[in-house]
Symmetry: C2
């Protein structure tokens, strides 16, 4: 049975349309993806800043639209940032596909978020594809290349799901009851084009009939767990419980977590992992309790140019993301409220680096790999420059 017309009309068309329904994540039974081209001059996204309270799709019609969507986090998650940046260049090519216009658009897009390497990766790939072509050929090539990046992301995440599935299956075989997975931030399908990275093995397990329950770190200050991960798991029908970020260590000490899986914004060549602020604390707790801590890392998130994590740039965001929060009032309105005294400043580092020694393994589209320089180099030989 093809997906319902509403879903197709609403979001997802060129790259996703031909796929059977089970290769897309569901929103209350309707197959849905996070980004899709509409023809060759518009791009549709979900405005994730309004989730979980409102499910709203918006159109991007210029590279400035795409940059704004990335900067204010209407789209977020390293893989989706990469795909959106690629479409941002395709939108630039609609009005001017000259070298200068594409370079300007790339600069604008690159400046939005510093930590996720997928952003730079996608822009460089697009420019490498487009600049050698005559300007007249670039528009069509840009939309095709962005669609390829989009399709590859889906395939990569599907593969990550398949490679991560045995980790959950092994736990399910060992004892009855659901497999308890703890995740931080949102590395689900909302962070990618489809399937997600950290949650791909969870969705694969559910599809395979393995009972699974997810502990969802709310992930302050932007609450991507409480708003996005909880919403997508609820929408797809996966058992889950939202917890304060503070609770994970206690649950691990009590034996209530079988496995941690998180996503990443950038992995260094040695396996050090940059991910949403607070990831390092959960890795420490998992290590202290002998619980496996896995990082779902698609190839584009691995930065072989960095020997270790110390040089990964860490984005500092505005303090008002800590001092204020958006929520839904009893009357249904979305309201931003202040949590702190007016006289108190707030600091907001957005990522931290988890050292490779705390990472049990990386789940890539090529398989499970140890978080160390030699293992990563062996898995991606074509990306080694020496």
């Amino acid at each position: 049975m093809p997906p319902p017309a509403r879903a197709v009309a609403a979001i997802g068309d060129n790259a996703g349309f031909a796929l059977p329904i089970r290769t897309r994540m569901n929103v209350h039974g309707i197959a849905t993806q996070t980004i899709a081209a509409i023809g060759d001059d518009r791009v549709e996204i979900i405005d994730q800043t309004r989730l979980p309270h409102e499910f709203v799709r918006i159109l991007l019609t210029s590279p400035a639209d795409a940059a704004e969507a990335i900067a204010v986090m209407r789209v977020r998650g390293a893989p989706l940032i990469g795909a959106t940046a690629a479409y941002g260049l395709a939108l630039a090519a609609v009005t001017d596909a000259g070298d200068a216009a594409l370079a300007d658009a790339a600069d604008l897009l690159a400046a939005t978020r510093p930590t996720a390497v997928n952003l730079r990766w996608a822009l460089e790939r697009m420019l490498a594809r487009l600049l050698p072509l005559p300007p007249a050929a670039r528009r069509a090539a840009a939309w095709a290349e962005a669609a390829a990046i989009r399709a590859e992301d889906i395939a990569q995440n599907r593969a990550i799901g398949a490679h991560g599935l045995p980790l959950l299956a092994a736990i399910a075989e060992r004892r009855p009851g659901p497999v308890n997975v703890l995740t931080h931030c949102n590395a689900g399908w909302l962070a990618t084009v489809d399937w997600g990275t950290a949650l791909a093995p969870v969705y694969a397990a559910a599809e395979a009939g393995i009972p699974v329950h997810v502990w969802v770190d709310e992930t302050r200050p932007r609450n991507q767990g409480a708003s996005l991960t909880a919403w997508e798991l609820a929408s797809h029908g996966i058992a889950h419980t939202v917890i304060a970020d503070n609770a994970g260590g206690h649950l691990m000490r009590r034996g209530e977590v079988d496995l941690c899986i998180v996503g990443t914004d950038r992995v260094a060549a040695n396996g050090d992992v940059a991910n949403k602020i607070g990831t390092y604390l959960k890795a420490l707790a998992a290590f202290d309790n002998g619980i496996p801590f896995h990082v779902a890392a698609p190839g584009p998130s691995i930065d072989f140019a960095l020997a270790d994590g110390s040089a990964i740039p860490i984005e500092t965001r505005a303090g008002d993301e800590v001092s204020h929060i958006l929520g839904r009032a009893d009357d249904g309105r979305l309201l931003r409220v202040r949590l702190t005294p007016a006289a108190s400043p707030a600091a907001n580092p957005a990522f931290d680096v988890t050292p490779a020694r705390l990472v049990t393994g990386l789940i890539t589209e090529r398989g499970l790999v140890a978080a160390d320089t030699a293992a990563l180099a062996a898995l991606y030989p074509e990306r080694q420059t020496r």
Copy 2:
């Protein structure tokens, strides 16, 4: 100069009145304490559920009032819970000082919060003092004993400040710039009668002219850091920055934390520490980075009846403390907003246990002590039952 009349009239009388102003914490220059008897039939507290947005004092006139204030956390913090419970029994004695009435009131008060041992300690101390007396003598004795508990808390915290001060002074001597202290939850004067436990060394350092800056964990889900610690530090004029609970590990890796000091709700005989959920994660990060992790632990918070922390009861609070949050809207109203999807359940363990191996030392009113069975027993020989 005596404290301004407004402060004396407003809060603090019998036990605090005679103390010079520097032995009280300030709210914008006005010396203030958290709980005080008004005559011998009413008790005044600060309604801490309305901080940092509104500073409101309310009266307790019955043991039920006191129990409600503890249960809904108008007063919180192990030492202040103990003092409030003591006054709850004093309020019971106003109307009926018979054995049954006091026992009923003690049961009501004991059932409010399970984790803080000070609650049980204060109730047992009050009953041990009152029950041997003829009923006619109990009312006066109850108010006197509660006042003694209150005064001892102030003295204990002052001593903790004095014993913790050298930890900060040693850092200040080593290098220029402020001493950066990270704290979790609120173990400041709002958690006690005055001075605080974890923050007592900070206030003592400020009094001694040592520059100090506090990283304030917001402390989800109830945000005691963002609302109470930030408010009391701002009110007293101590430099501080509010951070998401997730940020502490990153700051430690970057060398921006010199010392962690937290409070406790119960310390086991071996030095295992129950404290606000998330404390364990910070202790792990401090250990991983070689940063001292101290716990301010007044004697009444040490439970020598428990060999280790595994038997400390951990309170589970309602999930709506995670799914909803109270804040101040732009129009000044205090509003509760929902953060999670309606379909997503939330779990809310309120405390965790940090193993003694991660605790650099306990700061008690008797001095700094190692978190181990022999050292604690040697420091409190009169409380050893064998």
